[in-house]
Each structure stands twice: as structure tokens, then as C-alpha cells.
């Protein structure tokens, strides 16, 4: 069963969302960033629904964005933003950081459920593809600067993903990527990858 982390500072609203979700999922609650981090580290959370306006800065998205980055960097789970922050900057920052969806309050609970189902479907499909050797790599590029930067960014992300998955084992990585070890060393040097950086990230 999915275990969803619901981070929302409004206790009344949290109760209603929790009641709706717990019919189908395990739900863990957090009212602030500290509590959310504690839950993430102590439970096997598989998906997160996150409000951006969290204490002590309820009226700005900064606390929520901080938590979003933390979740994506450390747990790699799908995150659905459910927030009252309708600013373009917050939406842009969330999507750019890798949030799965951005829902602006008030939203129908059906929409929230639909978004959760889609997130689960995407995650499962990605996992299935990963088993078949197809890794989903996402990256941001500035359109209009030619294809060279996009190609380099794609190469960089693919190599980084494989190196992470193999624990920086160059032999295994080269085999998985279908390139010679010498070529892989060339890319590692070119992109400045270091074992300690990758270890620290993972």
C-alpha cells in the first residue's frame, strides 16, 4: 500500500484531506518542515502531497520549496504540490525542481485523487522501464541555443544516473552504457564527476 506524506499547516484542512486519502492509502501527516523531514526519515514514504506556504512563512512558498528540494534530492519520490500560492515563480520553481504536479487551492478532491493516481502510474511505469534498462532522465535546457548544449546535458544526465545506479563502478557503467571504459573516463573527466559527490548525493 502506498504511504503518502501529507504536509499541510492548516490542521482542519489536513484532517479533511487525510480522511479522504486514508480510504485508499496509508497517510502520515506533518504540519511543518521539521516534522516532514522526521517522517520522511523514519517511515517508508512513497509519495508526498505538499503545501508550499508552511510556518514560519505561511504567506510565501520558500519553506515548501525548501522541503520539495530536500525530498527530491534525498528520496526521489513523486511530489504533488497543493498550495494557495498562485505565483508564477512558485509554480515555475516547483516544476523546474521536479514536482510531479502543481495544484492551486481550492481544488476538487477528485482532482487531487486523479493527480495521485497519475503520479503512482508514472512512478510504476518508470520503475518498469528501468527494469528493462530504460532510464527516464529529465533535464532543463534553454531552447534556442542550438542542439549541442541539449546533447551535452542529456549525456551528462544519462551517465550520472548510470554511475549512481552502479555506485560509481566504471566497469559496470561502461557495460550498461555500451561504451568503452576509456570513453567513460573521458566523460567523467569532461563533466567533472567525482565518486565522493555521487556518494554524497545518494
Amino acid at each position: 500500500m502506498e504511504t503518502i506524506l501529507l504536509t499541510e499547516d492548516d490542521a482542519a484542512l489536513r484532517g479533511q484531506i487525510r480522511f479522504a486519502l486514508e480510504e485508499r492509502f496509508e497517510v502520515r501527516e506533518a504540519e511543518n518542515v521539521l516534522k516532514a523531514v522526521h517522517v520522511l526519515n523514519s517511515e517508508n514514504i512513497t509519495l508526498a502531497v505538499l503545501d508550499l506556504g508552511l510556518p514560519p512563512h505561511e504567506d510565501t512558498p520558500e519553506e515548501g520549496l525548501r522541503l520539495l528540494h530536500y525530498i527530491l534530492e534525498n528520496f526521489g519520490i513523486k511530489v504533488i504540490i497543493l498550495t494557495g500560492q498562485k505565483t508564477e515563480t512558485a509554480a515555475l520553481e516547483s516544476i523546474k525542481s521536479g514536482a510531479f504536479d502543481y495544484l492551486v487551492k481550492p481544488v476538487s478532491m477528485e482532482q487531487l485523487m486523479f493527480s495521485i493516481d497519475r503520479a503512482i502510474l508514472f512512478r510504476d511505469t518508470e520503475q518498469e522501464l528501468s527494469k528493462q534498462g530504460t532510464a527516464k532522465v529529465s533535464f532543463g535546457i534553454e531552447v534556442g541555443k542550438g542542439l549541442q548544449p541539449a546533447r551535452e546535458e542529456a549525456e551528462k544526465n544519462v551517465i550520472l544516473t548510470v554511475l549512481k545506479n552502479t555506485n560509481f563502478n566504471v566497469y559496470k557503467s561502461a557495460k550498461l552504457l555500451g561504451v568503452k571504459r576509456e570513453s567513460l573516463y573521458y566523460f567523467i573527466k569532461k563533466f567533472g564527476f567525482k565518486r565522493e559527490d555521487i556518494d554524497a548525493d545518494s
Binding site: 492548516d10 480522511f19 512563512h57 481550492p106
Partner: protein, 367 residues
């Protein structure tokens, strides 16, 4: 002998020259005085017109005529507004134009004789007029920007709570339709019971924010509000470490009291996020005709504490500066007083609420 004769022959000339110089001096003094008077009248007129250039410029046109400036013409653009009077097409004009990102001013005067000392007089008046116009525009832009900024803050402040309440209602409707079985029903009621205090605080806050600046509603019904109990509940709601002591109640509108004490206690909660481990203590006591509530935290002192109740003043990066202003506004409207100071034990809020004012109101309502 020769010198004496020379002085005798020049005597008349010296007298005439001196007289002419005096006349010139008096004339220049007259011109300068007239220019200063025009300047002062323009400053006064600007003030009388409430620094509105659309009203001020026609008055200024009349005033400058005293200094032999025949006419003024202008083409001024600022904050989507335009004030213009076309140039008459005469020869003797002085014109100056400036263009800034938020405004542009083109000002000209038509003079009768733009030469000699008179030209300096014209320039003094012209520069003063230009300066007044620019000052009015800058003031208007600043006031408009501040108002918009403050409105946006108030809007953000309300929107966060309104959206959460709306989302709560949507969740409630969704859940009511899906309750199956007594166990879920029981659970739903438990959630609702748990939600009630938070929901009540939020709706009270919305209501009180909307009431900022409104006249006192004499028709509003007062109820006996247990202030000590309310503070204890807020301590529990925000997980405040410390102790809420004392006893005291007064007849008033509950939502107003919730907003006052919620804003103070929330301030402590926000502070405790930055300064973990701080505690908060409150006491409620009755004094002659008043209820005195003291709430203090054990955290660090606040800089510029005298500005804490200033509307839209905040030291927090993401703060809006509305909460404490709103709290004091409510207390003052009830005839009470609210103060804050850095004391030896921490930041201390003192709220003094009159017991009698609302009692009279209830008596009057009962009659």
C-alpha cells in the same frame, strides 16, 4: 584748487548717479521680493490643492502673471495620467523637459521680456514651479506604489486563509458523500471535532482582517469570553512551551479576542522556530474595571520594538506586518490599550481590556 573745482563740477553728476543707482537697487529689490512672494504663494497653493498638479497648475498660471510671466504651458505624463496645456507658439519662451521611467514633464513659460535681470527672476520662478510639479508627481507615485503594495500584502494575508477554508469545505463535501460504515462515520466526527479550534481561529482571523478600518458595529452581540481559557487553547493549538496562568473573562466578541491573542501567540510560535527552546508565559488578572493580560516570551529582544504595531512594518523576510497592527486596532476600538516592550525577562505584551464598555452595551441592548 583744481581738485576743489573738479569736485564742485562733478557734484551734481555724483548726486544724479547715486540717485539712479538707488532707483535701480530699489527696482531690483522690488523684482526679487515679487519673485519670492510668487514662490511662496505657489508653495501655499500647491498645499491647498493637496499636491494635485491637475488642480495646482491652473492656479499657478494665475499666480505667475504677477511676475510678468504671461503664460505657462505643459505636457505631463505620470501613472497613466496626462495633464497638458499646449504651447502658445510665441517667441519668448523658456522650456525644460525631463523623461524618467515613471513620468515625464515638459514645462514652459511665456515671458514678456526675457533679458537681463528679469531673466534671472523668471528662472527662479520657473525652477520652483518645476520642482513643485516633480515633487507632487513623485509623492503621488510613492503613495500609489505603497498603497498597492500594502493592498497586495493584505490580499495575500487574506487569500492564504480563505483558500484553506474553501479547500476545507471542498474536502468536507467530498468526504460526506463517501462515509461508509459506523467506523468511518465515527472517525469523520473525530476529525471534525479536532478541526474545530483551528477552523475557528482561521475564520475569526479572516473576519477581523475584513473589519480593519471599519466603524465599530454597535449591533454586534457580545458574549462572555473566558480570556484565560482562550489563551490556554491557543498555547495548546500552537504547541507553545510555557504556562498560561490566571483567570478572567469579559463580555465581548469572541472572534475579536481570538484574533488579538492569536496574533500575539503566533508571533511567539514564529520566534520559537528561529530560536528553539524559548518559552512563553501569560497571566490574566482583573484590575479596576479592566482585564490585564501579560504575555511574554523568553527569547531575544526585538529591534525597533516601538514600530511593531506599525501597519505593514515587519522584520521578517516574508512577513506582511498586519497581524499585530490588527490586534492593536481591535483593542483600541474596544477602548483598551496594547503595548509591547523588551524587558529583562523577554519581549512582553500587555493588553488592557475594559470590562465596563461592553457591559454597558449589553445592558443597553437588554433594555
Amino acid at each position: 584748487m583744481l581738485t576743489l573745482k573738479f569736485v564742485q563740477s562733478m557734484y551734481l553728476f555724483v548726486l544724479v548717479a547715486g540717485a539712479v543707482a538707488l532707483v535701480i537697487l530699489f527696482y531690483l529689490r522690488y523684482l526679487t521680493n515679487r519673485a519670492f512672494k510668487v514662490q511662496l504663494r505657489m508653495v501655499d497653493a500647491n498645499q491647498e490643492c493637496n499636491y494635485d498638479i491637475a488642480l495646482f497648475l491652473p492656479k499657478a498660471s494665475e499666480l505667475v502673471k504677477t511676475a510678468e510671466i504671461e503664460e505657462i504651458f505643459y505636457d505631463i505624463h505620470y501613472s497613466e495620467s496626462t495633464v497638458a496645456r499646449p504651447a502658445p507658439g510665441t517667441r519668448h519662451t523658456i522650456v525644460r523637459t525631463i523623461t524618467r521611467p515613471d513620468y515625464s514633464i515638459s514645462l514652459g513659460i511665456v515671458t514678456s521680456s526675457p533679458r537681463g535681470y528679469q531673466r534671472y527672476i523668471y528662472m527662479i520662478i520657473f525652477e520652483t514651479l518645476f520642482l513643485l510639479i516633480e515633487m507632487d508627481i513623485l509623492m503621488k507615485i510613492k503613495v500609489a506604489n505603497e498603497a498597492l503594495c500594502n493592498f497586495s500584502k493584505l490580499h495575500t494575508f487574506l487569500l492564504h486563509d480563505v483558500k484553506n477554508v474553501t479547500q476545507f469545505i471542498k474536502g468536507l463535501i467530498y468526504n460526506i458523500d463517501r462515509i461508509k460504515g459506523p467506523e468511518r462515520e465515527h472517525r469523520f466526527i473525530e476529525y471534525l471535532r479536532g478541526s474545530a479550534p483551528a477552523l475557528s481561529v482561521r475564520t475569526d482571523k479572516i473576519l477581523s482582517t475584513l473589519e480593519i478600518g471599519m466603524e465599530k458595529d454597535e449591533e454586534e452581540t457580545a458574549e462572555e469570553v473566558d480570556i484565560a481559557r482562550l489563551i490556554k487553547d491557543l498555547f495548546a493549538l500552537y504547541h507553545i512551551k510555557g504556562e498560561a496562568a490566571g483567570e478572567g473573562a469579559l463580555p465581548t466578541q469572541r472572534h475579536k479576542m481570538v484574533t488579538v491573542f492569536d496574533n500575539i501567540i503566533k508571533n511567539v510560535r514564529e520566534k520559537s522556530a528561529r530560536e528553539p527552546g524559548i518559552e512563553c508565559f501569560s497571566s490574566v488578572r482583573e484590575e479596576t474595571g479592566s482585564l490585564v493580560v501579560v504575555i511574554y516570551d523568553t527569547g531575544s529582544p526585538v529591534k525597533n520594538i516601538e514600530r511593531m504595531f506599525e501597519p505593514f512594518y515587519t522584520t521578517k523576510e516574508s512577513g506582511l506586518g498586519i497581524g499585530l497592527f490588527q490586534a492593536r486596532h481591535i483593542v483600541k476600538n474596544l477602548g483598551g490599550d496594547m503595548a509591547v516592550e523588551n524587558t529583562g525577562r523577554g519581549v512582553e505584551f500587555t493588553v488592557k481590556l475594559p470590562k465596563s464598555a461592553k457591559t454597558e452595551h449589553i445592558d443597553a441592548a437588554g433594555e
